[in-house]
Subunit: 157 residues, 2 copies
Amino acid sequence: MGSEHTAAHTDPAALAEQLRARGLRLTPQRARVLAAVSGLEHATPEAIGARLREEAGPGGSAPDTSTIYRTLELLESLGLVWHTHLGRGAPVYHAAERPHLHVVCASCGEIASAAPDLLDRAAERLAADLGFTVDVGHVALSGTCRACRNRAVQEKP
Amino acid sequence: MGSEHTAAHTDPAALAEQLRARGLRLTPQRARVLAAVSGLEHATPEAIGARLREEAGPGGSAPDTSTIYRTLELLESLGLVWHTHLGRGAPVYHAAERPHLHVVCASCGEIASAAPDLLDRAAERLAADLGFTVDVGHVALSGTCRACRNRAVQEKP
DNA sequence: CTCGTTGCAAAGGATTTGCACAAGT
DNA sequence: ACTTGTGCAAATCCTTTGCAACGAG
C-alpha cells in the first residue's frame, strides 16, 4: 500500500512520538495493530486479529485478543484511530487520517463512506439548538443500500 | 401501502389487530412490553425488564428476559417500535409513533432527540450519490453535549 | 383442542479484567 | 533496574436457543 500520502498519523514514527510524550512504550504489538487498522478499511477488533494472524504466518505470533482491545483503546485515546458502532456488536476502527462518516446497510452490512461535510448543516443546527457538538468521525447512518432496496421490492410486492 | 402513521400505534387494540393479521396471539407479556417501551423514552431491553418488574410489584411476575428480547423483535417487525444503537452494547427502543433521531453524548451518555428533518438534506445527497436510503428512525449521531464540552475545556487547557 | 408463547436454563459471542512473566527505555 | 505491556485464563455482559409446560383463540 502506498504510504506516500499517508498522513503523519499512521507513520510509526508519529506513533513513537505520541507514546513517548506520555511516557508510554512503543511495542511491536502496537505498531502492528496500528498498521492493520490503516490497511483495513473498516476493521472490527476480530478482523484486525485475523489480519495480524495472517501476516504472522505459521509459526509466527500475533498479539492476543485482549492486547488488541487494549491497544485499540490506547490508539484512540492518542487520536490515531477512531471507532464507530455500526450496529449490534460490531465496532469498526479506522485510521484517523481524515474524518469521514459511515453509512451502513441494515440488510447486508455493506459499509460506505461519505464526505464529512454532508452533515455540516445538521451539525450547525444541533450546535445552535442543543449546544451539542457532533463528532463526525464517529457518526454512522443506517439505512438500505441500492442493491438491498431493489431486492426488497422484488421479494415483497 | 400501510397508512400506519397513527399515534394509535401504542394502543393495545392496534397491537391486537396487527397480531391477528399475522395469525399471532395477543398475550399480556406483549401488551406490557409495548406499554413499557411507550412509557420509557429510550429504553434498553434491560431497562424495560426493570420497569416491568417494578410495575409487577412484589409477588407479581414480569416477563422473562428472553421473552422481552423476542417481543421487542416482534414489535419491531410489526413496525410498532424501533431501535437504535447508541454505542457499545446498548440498543434503545422507542415507540414508533413518529420518527425522530437520536443524539448521544459520547462522554456522559446523555440522549437527546432531534427532528427527523434535520437530516433531510443529507439523506437526499446520499440517495443521489450512493443510492442509499437513510433510515432516520435508526440514526444516532454521536458527539459531546454542552455540559461535557465545558467540562473538557476546563480540565484540559 | 391446537399451535403459538413463555420461562428456565444453558449456550454463545464479544469484551474486560487479574496476574505473573516478559520486555521497552 | 524500573515500570509498563503482554499473554493466558477466567469473569462479565448481552443476547440467543432448546425444550417442556402453558394458555390464547
